[in-house]
């Protein structure tokens, strides 16, 4: 009993130490540092393409690295690979389980993955010999739903789950290489750093964690949100993390200062953030909300500089293409839209 009390005291003391250490480097705020820059002018993006074909709510989309291809997942039980320029469906992959919550495109363009309430991450080979797209591997071990997945390469993928863990898998053998445990709530979203050495996860314990992929440990934990974190992404230079939450705000945390630098919020916005993506320079943050809109934020000035209104239901997913040329939104209204 004595040891428990000792450990509890030590934990409290360490938390206070972290708070103090963060405060000690807080010699200014991002607001002050950006005082000399003018707010970005009004950003007005137009819908250039509407991708029609899904028959139910779209839950996820992910751009390919090369070319103007993207993959989307819908609870109509299909994964569709789209050519966003022609709006043609390159592949329409029927899924074993229609309860899909996430999808991902491998950087090579050879594979796509998806998963959801089946608790599994299914990997599909788009470049099979006979032209048919088949399940290549079913990664099963999570004891909760698959909320997000991202490829590191054709042989490794990271998944996040409702079982509160994230896992690094060896796709070839279908086995877990590393289990990243620590969150105290469902993991909802993950993003891989530009150098592929780290990943960040957002969870229903209101925190975001930075994980060292090779060492298998959590390096930093960021709090401040007052509800579930649904969306997470890296700032393009890899030194900051952006989160979107059910508390109706987005936050930017700097990894090297180990703290929140700014919150993107407006009293008129009272619904949760479902998805987010930074523009190529990081100056704009596009965030999808439960009220069917996407708000565009000036990341340095924390001001709303644009709105994308065009969907008839919740915007569930958003992504900016690799060359930064366009933004894609996916919605519960079953459509994807390409904007620029």
């Amino acid at each position: 009993m004595g040891e428990m009390e000792q450990l509890r005291k030590e934990a409290e003391s360490l938390k206070d130490q972290i708070t103090a250490a963060r405060k000690a480097v807080q010699d200014t705020t991002l607001q002050e540092a950006a005082a000399g820059i003018t707010v970005v002018g009004r950003v007005q993006l137009k819908t250039r393409k509407t991708l029609r074909g899904h028959l139910a709510k779209i839950y996820a989309m992910h751009w390919a690295v090369d070319a103007n291809l993207c993959v989307s997942a819908s609870q109509d039980g299909k994964l569709i690979v789209w050519d966003t320029i022609t709006t043609n469906k390159v592949n329409a992959i029927p899924l074993k389980s229609s309860w899909v919550m996430t999808c991902a495109y491998a950087p090579s363009g050879n594979l796509v993955a998806c998963g959801g309430l089946d608790n599994m991450c299914s990997i599909y080979n788009l470049k099979g010999k006979d032209g048919n797209v088949k399940v290549m591997r079913e990664l099963a071990a999570h004891t909760g739903y698959l909320s997000c997945c991202r490829f590191l390469s054709d042989s490794e993928i990271i998944t996040s789950s409702g079982d509160c863990t994230c896992v690094l898998w060896d796709i070839e053998t279908g086995t877990q290489k590393t289990v990243f445990a620590g969150h105290q709530g469902d993991c909802m979203s993950l993003a891989v750093s530009p150098d592929f050495k780290f990943f960040i996860s957002g969870a229903c314990d209101f925190t975001a964690k930075l994980w060292d992929i090779r060492e298998g440990v959590c390096r930093q934990t960021f709090g401040g949100h007052e509800s579930d974190i649904n969306a997470i992404g890296f700032f393009p230079n890899g030194n900051a993390v952006i989160t979107g939450s059910d508390d109706a705000t987005c936050k930017l945390y700097d990894l090297r200062a180990d703290q929140e630098l700014i919150t993107y919020q407006d009293s008129s916005i009272m619904c949760g953030v479902t998805s987010l993506a930074p523009s190529l320079s990081g100056r704009l943050i596009l965030a999808g909300y439960d009220d069917f809109n996407v708000n565009i934020w000036d990341s340095l000035k924390s001001e709303r500089v644009g709105v994308l209104a065009g969907h008839d239901n919740r915007v569930s997913c958003i992504g900016v293409s690799a060359d930064g040329m366009a933004c894609c939104t996916g919605s519960w209204d079953s459509f994807l839209k390409i904007w620029n």
Binding site: M4, Q26, R48, T221, M325
Partner: protein, 72 residues
């Protein structure tokens, strides 16, 4: 018996929590002024290369075929 094992696992969890907090407390932090300056610099340096920020002229926009005037 079960009381003991429950107490043991709570102890293990508490030990893990403390170990994790020690790790996170030892992170080397830079000043917010430096972090903010670098974020600002990255945004400004890459602004001209950011199509969503600068806008894309229709002639260069792959998502928008340019309207051409045809004279017969």
């Amino acid at each position: 018996m079960s009381n003991n094992s429950a107490a043991n696992s709570s102890l293990v969890l508490a030990q893990k929590a403390v170990k994790q907090l020690r790790l996170e407390a030892s992170v080397r932090r830079i000043k917010v002024s430096q972090a903010a300056a670098e974020l600002k610099a990255f945004c400004l340096q890459n602004a001209h290369k950011d199509p969503l920020l600068t806008g894309v002229p229709s002639s260069d926009n792959p998502f928008r075929p340019p309207k051409s005037c045809v004279l017969f």
